[in-house]
C-alpha cells in the first residue's frame, strides 16, 4: 500500500477510536512533558551556571606569570640553576600575548591597599583596577548607578559592604566624592654598585621611594557582589576604579619589594598579566601557546571541565527520571494497539482477503503508533515548556520577594524539541512492534470468522 493511503487509513482508524487514541496520545504527551521539563531544567541550570561563571571572568582568563615567579615561594632545588634565561613579563611579552589568536585583551592586575577618606572619616580598604571590558561582566548586572563613564574617568564603584561602612544609606553615595590616599612609587636615581630592578617605570632607576598621594574620585555605582572574587579576577577590591586610572597612580603594590631586587634588564616588568580569551573553550589552546612562549600559566579549565562532567551526569539522571513517565506511556500505546487488534480482528481479515499483505497490516499499526507518538511528542514539548514557564514564574515571584534579580532556570533549546519528538516517535514505534507483528500474522480465515 502507498504511504499516502496508509496514512489516510491510519488516521481514520485513530479517529474512529478517538477517545482511546486521545488518551494514549495524552499519555505519551505527559511522558514527553516530564522528559522535556526535567531536561530543560538541567540544561537551564547548566546554562545559568556557565553564563554566571563565564561572565565572572574566571573561566575565560589565563593568568600569566614569569616562570621563576611561580617558584619564588619555594626553596630552589640544589641542582637547579638560577632562572637566568626565564623570559621577563615585560611590554614586549605583553604585546606578543596580545597578538596570540583568540585573545581579546591582556592587562596587568592593579590592586593596592589604600585609605579612603569620606566625609572626614578614614577607611582602610583595597583598590582594584577594572578594565573597560568588565562592563559586560555579570557582576555589574545589578549595579546601582552606572559603570565608569570612560576608561580615564576619575570615578569609583563601591562594593556594597564597603558602601555600608561609608553610609547607612549606600544609595545616597552615588554622585558624591571621596578621596583615596595611596602610596606612590617615586623613582630614585641609579646607585653605584646596585643592580637596577623594579617593576614598571622604575626599571631604569636605582629603585623607588614611597610618597603619599591623594586622588579624588566620584562615586558612580554600587555593586552587590565582588566582581570575579577570587583567583584571576578583581577579588578583594572593595573600591573599584578604571584600570587606566589605577595604573597611572603608580601605586606601590605588594610585590614591589620583591621586584625591586630583581634584575629586569632595564625594562618594565609586570608581576602577572591577565589574558582574556574569546571564550572559555579557547583557553586551553591559548594556555599552551603561552607556555611555549616560556611563561607560567594558570587557569580554571580543570574546574570548568569538572563542572561540565557534573552537568552531563546530572542531565543523564534527569533523562532517566523523566523517561520513567515515557516508559509508562509506552505501555499505554501497547495496550491501545493490542485492544485495536482485538476490536479490528475481522477488519484485518477483510483487508487481507482484499489483498493486503502482512507488511501492509504491520505498517498500518506502525503508522498509527507513530502518529500517536508524534502528536504526543509535539503536545509533550508544549506541556513541558509550559511546566518550565510556570516553575520559572513561581521561582521569580519568590526571588522578587527576596529582593533578588529574576532568573530563568529552564531552557528548551531547539535540539531538545527535536529530540523529544523523535524519541516519542521511536518509542511509539517500538511499542507498536509487538501489536503490529501480531496483527500482521493473523490468519485471514480465522480473522474473518471472528465476531
Amino acid at each position: 500500500m502507498k504511504a499516502g493511503d496508509l496514512g489516510e487509513l491510519a488516521l481514520r482508524n485513530l479517529r474512529e477510536a478517538v477517545l482511546r487514541s486521545s488518551l494514549t496520545t495524552l499519555g505519551v504527551a505527559v511522558g514527553v512533558a516530564s522528559l522535556v521539563a526535567w531536561l530543560s531544567l538541567g540544561i537551564g541550570l547548566q546554562a545559568l551556571a556557565t553564563k554566571r561563571l563565564s561572565n565572572s571572568g574566571l573561566f575565560d582568563t589565563v593568568i600569566v606569570t614569569q616562570r621563576r615567579n611561580a617558584q619564588s615561594m619555594r626553596r630552589a632545588p640544589a641542582e637547579s640553576s638560577p632562572a637566568k634565561n626565564a623570559r621577563q613579563l615585560d611590554d614586549d611579552a605583553k604585546n606578543e600575548l596580545e597578538r596570540l589568536p583568540n585573545v581579546v585583551e591582556v592587562y596587568s592586575q592593579v590592586r593596592f591597599p589604600t585609605e579612603v577618606r569620606y566625609d572626614g572619616t578614614p577607611y582602610s580598604t583595597i583598590v582594584a583596577g577594572i578594565p573597560a571590558s568588565a562592563h559586560g561582566n555579570g557582576s555589574f548586572d545589578g549595579i546601582q548607578g552606572s559603570f565608569f563613564s570612560g576608561p580615564n574617568a576619575d570615578e569609583a564603584i563601591l562594593q556594597i559592604e564597603f558602601a555600608k561602612d561609608l553610609s547607612t544609606q549606600p544609595s545616597n553615595l552615588i554622585g558624591k566624592d571621596l578621596v583615596v590616599r595611596y602610596a606612590e612609587r617615586e623613582a630614585l636615581p641609579p646607585q653605584a654598585g646596585v643592580s637596577p630592578g623594579s617593576s614598571h617605570a622604575d626599571a631604569d632607576t636605582g629603585g623607588f621611594s614611597i610618597v603619599p598621594r591623594e586622588k579624588k574620585l566620584r562615586i558612580v555605582g554600587i555593586i552587590e557582589t565582588e566582581p570575579a572574587a577570587g583567583f584571576g579576577g578583581f577579588g578583594s577590591g572593595r573600591l573599584l576604579m578604571p584600570l587606566e586610572v589605577a595604573s597611572s597612580l603608580r601605586a606601590a603594590q605588594v610585590n614591589d619589594l620583591r621586584d625591586a631586587v630583581r634584575a629586569t634588564n632595564g625594562k618594565a616588568v609586570y608581576p602577572s598579566l591577565t589574558v582574556r580569551a574569546k571564550s572559555a573553550s579557547l583557553v586551553q589552546g591559548i594556555e599552551a601557546a603561552i607556555k611555549n612562549m616560556g611563561f607560567g600559566t594558570f587557569s580554571l579549565q580543570d574546574a570548568s571541565k569538572s563542572l561540565e562532567v557534573f552537568f552531563r551526569i546530572f542531565d543523564m539522571l534527569l533523562f532517566i527520571f523523566g523517561s520513567l513517565a515515557l516508559a509508562v506511556a509506552t505501555l499505554g500505546i501497547i495496550n491501545t494497539l493490542v485492544m485495536a487488534i482485538l476490536e479490528r480482528r475481522r477488519e484485518i481479515g477483510i483487508l487481507k482477503a482484499l489483498g493486503a499483505a502482512d507488511r501492509d497490516v504491520k505498517n498500518l499499526f506502525f503508522v498509527e503508533a507513530s502518529v500517536m507518538g508524534f502528536l504526543g511528542g509535539v503536545l509533550g514539548v508544549g506541556f513541558g515548556w509550559l511546566v518550565g514557564r510556570a516553575v520559572t514564574f513561581g521561582i521569580n515571584v519568590y526571588l522578587k520577594r527576596q529582593s533578588l534579580p529574576p532568573t530563568d532556570v529552564f531552557s528548551v533549546p531547539w535540539w531538545l524539541v527535536l529530540m523529544a519528538i523523535v524519541l516519542a516517535v521511536i518509542v511509539s514505534l517500538a511499542a507498536g512492534l509487538y501489536p503490529a507483528s501480531r496483527a500482521a500474522k493473523l490468519n485471514p480465515v480465522e480473522a474473518l470468522r471472528y465476531e
Binding site: 502507498k2 499516502g4 482484499l354 489483498g355 493486503a356 480465515v445
Partner: protein
C-alpha cells in the same frame, strides 16, 4: 488468466487438515477439482462439508496441508505470503455471506479499498469505483454507509468491491445466505450477468441446491471434506 490448459483453477489431491489436540479434523480431504476459465461452478454441501475451506484454499486465504492448487499459472502453495497477497489483490475477487463491508466507510470508500491495496493510481480510482458501482446499480449511493443500505444492496456493494480490481476469478461464499429469496435471486442474476458479460470464472459456495442448479454451469458436491460428485445437475 488460465493455467495454460484452459483451466482457471486446478486443485490436485488437496487436503486441509486441522489438529485439535490428538484429533485430526479433515476439513478438505484429497479433493481434485478442475475449473475451466469462464465457468460458473457451485460448491454444494451441507454445513461442515468443507466447501468454504476449499473456497478459501482456492482464493489464497489459506494454504493446503496436502496436494496443490494451481491458479493464475502458478502453484499457490509455493507462493510467498507477499505473492499470495498479490494474487488475492489482482486475480481474485471475494464475496462473503455476511458482506464484510467496513461499517465506518462509505460505499465509495469500501469499493475503493482494494484499489488502495493494489496501489492503483489515485487519479484512476474514481472512474474504477464508479464503473464497479454502476455494474451493480449502486452508483447513486456513493456516500452512504453500509448501515444505511439494505442487505441486498450491501451484497451488491460487496460485489462491486470484488469486481473493482477487475479480477479473473470471483469466489462467493454463500452470497445469498443472509438474504431473503427474492433478494438472493437478484444477486444470483447479477452474478450470472457478470459471468456472461465479463467472461469471469465464478466459484460459489452454497448449500441451496435449487439455486446452484439454476445458475451454475456445474455443481461439485462435497461431504465430510471429500468431493462426492462433480458436474451433476439434476
Amino acid at each position: 488468466m488460465t493455467t495454460g490448459d484452459g483451466l482457471a483453477v486446478r486443485a490436485e489431491r488437496v487436503s486441509r487438515h486441522y489438529e485439535m489436540g490428538s484429533a485430526v479434523i479433515r476439513a478438505v480431504d484429497d479433493v481434485t477439482l478442475q475449473i475451466r476459465a469462464g465457468e460458473f461452478v457451485a460448491l454444494l454441501g451441507s454445513s461442515g462439508s468443507g466447501k468454504s475451506t476449499l473456497l478459501n484454499l482456492m482464493a489464497g486465504l489459506d494454504r493446503p496441508t496436502g496436494g496443490a492448487i494451481f491458479a493464475n499459472g502458478r502453484n499457490l502453495s509455493e507462493l510467498s505470503s507477499l505473492e499470495l497477497a498479490r494474487y488475492r489483490s489482482r486475480t481474485v475477487g471475494m464475496v462473503f455471506q455476511s458482506f464484510n463491508l467496513l461499517p465506518r466507510m462509505t460505499l465509495e470508500e469500501n469499493v475503493e479499498l482494494p484499489l488502495r491495496l493494489a496501489e492503483v493510481d489515485r487519479a484512476e480510482r474514481g472512474a474504477r469505483v464508479q464503473e464497479a458501482l454502476e455494474r451493480v446499480h449502486l452508483e447513486k449511493r456513493l456516500t452512504h454507509r453500509p448501515s444505511e443500505l439494505s442487505g441486498g444492496e450491501q451484497q451488491r456493494a460487496a460485489l462491486a468491491r470484488a469486481l473493482v480490481n477487475r479480477p479473473t476469478l470471483l469466489f462467493a461464499d454463500e452470497p445469498t445466505g443472509n438474504l431473503d429469496s427474492a433478494t438472493g435471486e437478484s444477486i444470483m442474476l447479477l452474478l450470472k450477468e457478470i459471468q456472461q458479460k465479463l467472461g469471469m470464472t465464478i466459484v460459489m459456495v452454497t448449500h441451496e441446491r435449487p439455486l446452484a442448479e439454476r445458475f451454475a454451469d456445474r455443481i461439485a458436491a462435497l461431504a465430510d471434506g471429500k468431493l462426492l460428485t462433480d458436474g451433476v445437475k439434476s
